[in-house]
Symmetry: C2
Subunit: 253 residues, 2 copies
Amino acid sequence: MPGAIQSIERAAAVLRLLGGAGRPLALAELAAALDLPRPTVHGIVRTLRVEGLVEQDSSTSLYSPGPGLRSLAEGWDRHDLRSRAMNWADALAGSSGCAVYLGVPAGRAVSLVHHVFRPDGSPQRLRTNTEQPLHATAWGKCLLAFAPVATPALRDLELHRYTRRTTTTVTALETQLAGARRRGCATDVGEFEAGIGGAAVPLRTGGGLAVAALGIAGPVEELFGAGGEPRPRLVEQLTAAGREISAFLGAAR
Amino acid sequence: MPGAIQSIERAAAVLRLLGGAGRPLALAELAAALDLPRPTVHGIVRTLRVEGLVEQDSSTSLYSPGPGLRSLAEGWDRHDLRSRAMNWADALAGSSGCAVYLGVPAGRAVSLVHHVFRPDGSPQRLRTNTEQPLHATAWGKCLLAFAPVATPALRDLELHRYTRRTTTTVTALETQLAGARRRGCATDVGEFEAGIGGAAVPLRTGGGLAVAALGIAGPVEELFGAGGEPRPRLVEQLTAAGREISAFLGAAR
DNA sequence: GCACGTCGTTCGACAATGTCGAACGCCCGG
DNA sequence: CCGGGCGTTCGACATTGTCGAACGACGTGC
């Protein structure tokens, strides 16, 4: 099919028009400039609006370039992400009673961009801006499972042993990741620090692309039930927070 | 059709993936991440490459975000445009023997971002960063003709009279613009300064969107033949330069 | 050096999919 | 109150994108 895809060409033209004209444009203007019927253009801008690449003023109904364009060009940077997720992260710490971490991929490791202390007043060390292994933490495994293109291939990881429970073989790690994908949530049962476990869910931007992991951490016996499964109440709170942050990052209102 | 357009959604997802992964990606990686057949993804990236939103390394054939993404998000700013067009503008002045201007839309006027003196050594005043009327200069009319969304509607212009030949009615201006569109080149026969004429062609970015006008200026009798038509040799040089700059700004390849 | 795997790419048939005429409700100016 | 503009929805049609199959090139491990 050596030919360009029509609708994508047209969508690009719409974006260029909106960016080039320094002011919000009406649908009819776009349609006239592109020499296309209004319903056709409307379908395109509706899609772009859902993707967050175009905004529509709710009162004038004029269209202008959306915030997603910038993030398309530059990706999400860590500070951006942190400031947007902070409110939910704090609330999650309060409701779950756990420490909360926000991790993004950084080469062969996961970098923690945010850390909320567990709200019980116990002594804790701030872990912001530290790096942790991908294969031994809930947030690391979460990124491996849901953001495969932003993380190294499994066979390129050094599966260093941190505790007795650390996973050190590729195949075992793969089955864990498959389970995490199925469940929508990755876990760590004391694999990095003995006795300290965690659970993490992906944060996704507009297109469903995972860009970060939101995790909670605490004593293993507090996070996990007898069967080794994470406690449903916590998983629910975690996934709910993840969904909300994703919805906020993601374009779709 | 209250549903998103599939191919545009997918294209956006591709762009996000390429932007999110900090490294060039292989086609197969994209296909795997999107869970789509490789030919399907190939069609999408081919289109995006033509649009300049994606680049493909010719040796590794890996895909990465293209330069057009940035210009999508920010449009072309005047300094950018100037630096990119300068080489050709200087050469055009040399070969044509005329002064060369580069104009961009600025509200109800055309703003001159670059000015090359005519190479005959005659005394001239630098016009960079001055504004001139849209309706009375070749570059202004060029923008009106080819960049209608970035310029005001004709009826919102004040058609002020500068010389005896200035066009001061909307209908006359419209027929001139139609002629310019047909010819691909707008002209000015001493309508702003008596005896000084000009000709201008649009500069287009990736999608064919006109963002600036490239013009030459000189004595009317030098630029125009007896019939009032611009001299073919000059028009040819001008359009050739415009094509080359557009190709450089433009995405393709 | 052969066979194999994987890559990016092309071809082509099918049907899913986007396109666009017609029509709706809405707001504004006459 | 009407006429004309807007953004938006509906729906039938056929255009158009999708994807299985296949090709040539490249690199690898028997």
